[in-house]
Symmetry: C2
Subunit: 471 residues, 2 copies
């Protein structure tokens, strides 16, 4: 019997005994994680994606995401038990499943408004095959009100069924971070669940309790749960923008932001963030616009949220200008330089380059006509570009005039100024966009101009002397 | 021998054996805490203040701050051991001490610039009596660079001595919060210490290690330590402003900010703050302006920091407008109402009313000509006003039309809507500026309009029905 037609305890039992099929609509980074998570709980999972390569890889028992290579083991296990199927046929997935989880992304349009098209398409598809007793869950981050005001009417119209009476509807945001997706989903955080009826909530909370290990937090409505997820992102975005602002002040007054931050955060009410060269990824740069848009529709201007976005979007350009100033400081011309760009992903430990500041830096350097070598230990290709990606930073910095560090991969924390100087074999500028270099008390082979973020810039001489400079 | 003339270990030994006299310049909330802290470590403390009543109280073995009543015990003990003297004679204190700790406040001028006058006056006084081997420490929160660029030249000029050679100079910010000052100073957080020479740093770090229990964090310069303290405050101010902004959105879309916040903060990277009706106290509303001013002098506009200030300064006015709308909603006129204002202090658990939003609300209500009863369990008087302050909220709400809650004293968390309604004996509006009331599923004697901060407003009827209303 379908899950919404039995008591929750029985539904959980059925899930565990592989009597339910779970469709995951959108089988990217998020969808795959959800699919593996539910599969491990016992469900028969059908993952749906249009990405042929991802389908091929999963069918071969491999994770399509290099930084989540550990997933391969789980994928193989689930495949061998017949618990994981993957297809590009969404209508098949909609037809054959009892529990339908939506994990397609929501993008921003060019005017920074949420584009719900993928959600609408998938909801329509699900609605057409929706049966009495089914469960529909949305895990995608969406603007507040979308579940109740957009998805629910589509499902009801296409199916002729009634939400919370004939089928269960829930919003339960994924809270995963690239590099540790499965642990994030299953072990690290409680699962947030919002429904608009106690009956749906009771069922879905029981189901998730069988999937995740840290328990569930039930909320009073779908809109509260939708809002929750977006606020997590806005908090981060605003605090990164504040860090950028305070880091700029630190550079001006000759103080290390990192030192100040560590000291301030020694009391438990202070959580100053790290500054950066722009915020990338598919989440933080996007969610604030959902909230801003929701505010505008209510006649409310979200000033801090918008300003933080502006600051974080400008941060990359400011770093590019710093690169130019540093190179000019050494009496070189950017277009005549040879660059090493270390890092392409939007942060360390992931191959994800979506909205990565590194790509904007790459574009800038290419535009100057300068020579450039690009290094990233995880990223395999850059969409639309035919560039060779070097794995080892040591190889990338040989013979260059300037080293630009744009992601904080763990390998880069091993970069030492003396070694980099020797490998470059000439006077160099190091633009450390992630403050991965700790030791500035060095004797480089040739003069080094070092500039990080939120710390004073220094000229480091072969005799070990260190002079603060204004960039 | 004076502390800077012996090895640090010997200086600590001398401190413990009551061979050193410590002058605390400014003996208010902060200064008294410092004095008691150093006294408990063994120092002979001379506290200096112009507040005659504080002198009288301390000489009688009493704490001048009702919420820190527990301090009385320590004051008595130190007095009986001859370790605590208090005087209005700053020149005597400067002459007679080996270690001089500055704890006078820095205020803002009317154009929001730091007014360093008290620091200048005290530095001059200390400089005149400064002896070889003395130690000078500043604990007041001050703009970055003040120790090195302002205090140091004054001390050197007035004394003819050289900093870090003849005497030690340090900046070490207090990190105390009204209500728990001594525990904050001694037990809770590491003590931050910044000096501009290793020799001063070594001595002062050793001395503080003998005073505080959580150890010390040494910083690379006085300016880094000054910056650290201010950034703690800016972080709070910005995050309270963000909470206010997001709470407004929640009110509009019918979601409880508190519920969303609790769920979001279930992951360890989210620290969404609570919204409010303005930020009071002598710290948070002031420090951002020090940073803004420092930025301006460097040609840098601190946009988020300034915007957060604007939002938090506007919050009180927005709450006042909500009070008016709520009263009009019940077809009453504010000027013809009888109000109960619960809470005068800038937050719960303190008698401190400096920059308290409650005072602005009080002024507004007084201006309308309405009758008003004021209740606060800790505040004893309001500067410049001759008003009776009722201790018990139950007494204050009798017969009123509107209850405005403006501080989150622990007593107020016991306010129940049913009891308040019965005591008022008529239809009332409850404006809960601190969201102290939890239960809205009630059957009040008469109709109640309830409005909090970041939660939808409700009409609560005697039959137990609850209707959301737009205010």
């Amino acid at each position: 019997m379908k899950p919404f037609l039995v008591v929750p305890e029985e539904a959980v039992e059925n899930l565990r005994k592989s009597r339910y099929r779970v469709g995951v609509f959108g089988f990217g980074h998020v969808g795959l994680t959800i699919g593996v998570g539910w599969g491990l709980a016992g469900a028969k999972v059908i993952g749906m994606t249009l990405d042929k390569q991802a389908i091929r890889l999963v069918e071969s028992g491999l994770s399509p995401f290099p930084e989540e290579a550990y997933l391969s083991e789980h994928i193989k296990k689930l495949r061998s038990r017949g618990l994981l199927e993957v297809t590009d046929d969404y209508s098949y997935g909609a037809r054959e499943t009892d529990i339908k989880i939506i994990a397609v992304p929501v993008y921003l349009s060019s005017d920074k408004k949420p584009d719900l098209t993928p959600i609408l398409t998938v909801s329509e598809e699900i609605g057409k095959s929706l049966a009495k007793g089914d469960v529909v869950i949305i895990e995608t981050s969406i603007p507040p009100g979308t579940t109740r005001n957009v998805v629910k009417p589509i499902l009801e119209k296409a199916s002729g069924l009634k939400t919370d009476e004939d089928f269960a509807l829930a919003y339960s945001p994924e809270r995963i971070s690239a590099g540790t997706v499965l642990a994030d989903y299953l072990d690290k955080y409680p699962k947030i669940i919002g429904c608009d009826s106690p009956r749906s909530l009771n069922l879905v909370a029981n189901l998730y309790s069988a999937v995740v290990k840290r328990g569930v937090i039930t909320m009073s409505s779908t809109i509260a749960a939708e809002t929750e997820k977006l606020f997590e992102g806005v908090y981060r975005d605003v605090n990164i923008a504040l860090a950028n602002e305070l880091a700029s002040l630190c550079e001006k007054i000759g103080v290390s932001y990192d030192e100040v931050r560590a000291a301030a955060n020694s009391q438990p009410f202070s959580h100053l963030h790290s500054p950066g060269i722009g915020v990338g990824g598919a989440c933080i740069p996007v969610y604030p616009y959902f909230i801003i848009d929701t505010g505008l529709k209510q006649g409310l201007k979200l000033q801090i949220t918008q300003l933080a976005r502006n600051i974080n979007e400008t941060a990359t350009q400011l770093f590019i200008e710093k690169i130019v100033r540093a190179i000019r400081f050494l009496n070189m011309n950017p277009s005549e330089c040879s660059f090493a760009l270390l890092g392409l992903s939007f942060r360390g430990g992931t191959s994800d380059t979506r909205l990565s500041p590194a790509l904007r830096i790459l574009e800038f350097i290419e535009k100057t006509g300068a020579r450039i070598k690009v290094c990233d230990p995880l990223v395999e290709k850059v969409e639309g570009k035919n560039i060779e990606i070097i794995r080892d930073w040591r190889q990338a910095v040989q013979g260059v005039n300037a080293i630009v560090i744009a992601s904080d991969h763990k390998e880069f924390y091993r970069i030492g100024i003396e070694e980099a100087s020797s490998l470059a074999g000439r006077e160099i500028a190091i633009l450390d966009g992630k403050n991965v270099i700790g030791n500035l008390n060095v004797k480089p082979k040739s003069r080094v101009l070092y500039a990080g973020v939120g710390r004073p810039a220094y000229l480091l001489e072969p005799d070990g002397s260190k002079k603060r400079v204004e960039l």
